[in-house]
Symmetry: C2
Subunit: 250 residues, 2 copies
């Protein structure tokens, strides 16, 4: 058994916890500030004492970007392998000699636990032995491990903002419109799923459809008149213009 | 066997064709202008003669919005059931007495044929007997048939623009960024799929994440500096502001 400590009790910590436990290859310790939150991790030893991290081979900081350095300080600098999991933080925010990054390129929440087997895990380390160790650990939970330096990881994270954060916001607007129009709340579910599947099976730019793609100004005008929320109206216009610009080079 | 004519040879026609053939309950005739395109439909009778539509019980106009009226004229007005499949066209664009709408709320392309069984089919008709008939036909391909008038259908179509057209455009930008940064082209595939699954399992507004949601101005600034394409930069800024506005009511 490999002895790993996860610091943090949020969505990422919970998803890592379930995936490591599932592997049956890892003995886990979870460190968190709140005893209540620690109760969730019934198949791991838990503690509020950050120094206990030193008892394990690898320390995974599954905390928010701003807490990464604070947690490393609370634990104390040592020869232990230590990684953070942040897409947009460079490796050198960690001061420990055997430091690295283990960044699962996925979106997490505490309700739907994700199977990480096919999820890209982006790794990086300060030296070869750390990289080898982190690579082995990453392979326990995913078959898709990818070595990328801090700059490339930041770039991947930026692309992920468009694929996840912004798309999710638009899905949110579409659901709000269903509520506003008193339409069934699940009316767009199949469309949302198929949109994602199509974007993977094809280049999204090649399967773009809709009024903006057709430069159908009548339909666009009609839609704008139907949107009450000025922020939604504004986004409809901006996105339609962006699509028109792209396809017609106006 | 029910005798149905589909007018059109594009993505929607092909998807309807496969779903009706699969049901084994329908004898299909396909009408199109191009003999070459008609070759695709090997399990149907095909013709370029629009008047032949009159030989079937139901005529489905699976053509672009602008061609709906033109096709009805080419076929000629009769007592036959006739439907269009356009989300944003009212029922009354058709002049035939037994007219209706059969609108599958889904995105279609000619490469990936979609199983329509769970896809909402929005229907409407000029009279009760037509509605009953169209309802029966819609149930052959989907268990999710929903009667909505032209106004409600237009509203559903507008919400679908956000869920499909605009999301797809953002997926396209994310893939372009991967190319630009020389990152693996499938790096975001699992994220894109999970984003869609999460948007269905939860209200997207409740699981929003990212720098804009956290009002993390440092990360936003960093990202903006990394985007070369001015259109992408502009959209990043607009979408981040929209998210900040929504969550912080700035």
């Amino acid at each position: 058994m490999i002895h790993i400590t996860i610091v943090g009790t949020g969505a990422l910590a919970r998803n890592l916890y379930h995936n490591f436990i599932e592997s049956k290859k890892v003995a886990l310790q979870i460190i968190g500030r709140s005893k209540e939150q620690l109760d969730y991790f019934s198949n791991a030893t838990t503690t509020t004492n950050f120094k206990s991290a030193q008892d394990s081979e690898l320390i995974i900081l599954a905390v928010s970007d701003t807490d990464v350095s604070i947690c490393e300080e609370l634990i104390g600098i040592s020869e232990r392998f230590i990684v953070h999991c942040a897409g947009s933080l460079a490796l050198d925010v960690l001061k420990s000699p055997n430091a690295g990054v283990l960044y699962p390129l996925q979106t997490f929440n505490i309700i739907n636990i994700v199977d990480l087997k096919r999820v890209p895990i982006l790794i990086e380390a300060t030296n070869e032995s750390s990289l080898k160790y982190i690579n082995n650990v990453a392979h326990i939970i995913s078959s898709n491990v990818c070595q990328l330096n801090s700059q490339k990881r930041k770039e991947a994270h930026l692309a992920a903002i468009f694929a996840n954060n912004f798309s999710n916001y638009l899905y949110g607007i579409s659901k709000e419109l269903l509520e506003e129009f008193d339409l069934p709340e699940d009316l767009l579910d199949e469309l949302i799923l198929q949109t994602a599947k199509n974007a993977i099976a094809n280049h999204p730019k090649e399967i773009q459809s809709g009024p903006a793609k057709r430069n159908d100004v009548t339909a666009i005008k009609l839609h704008l008149d139907m949107i009450y929320n000025p922020n939604h109206k504004d986004l409809y216009e901006k996105l339609s213009n962006a699509i028109k610009d792209y396809y017609y080079e106006l």
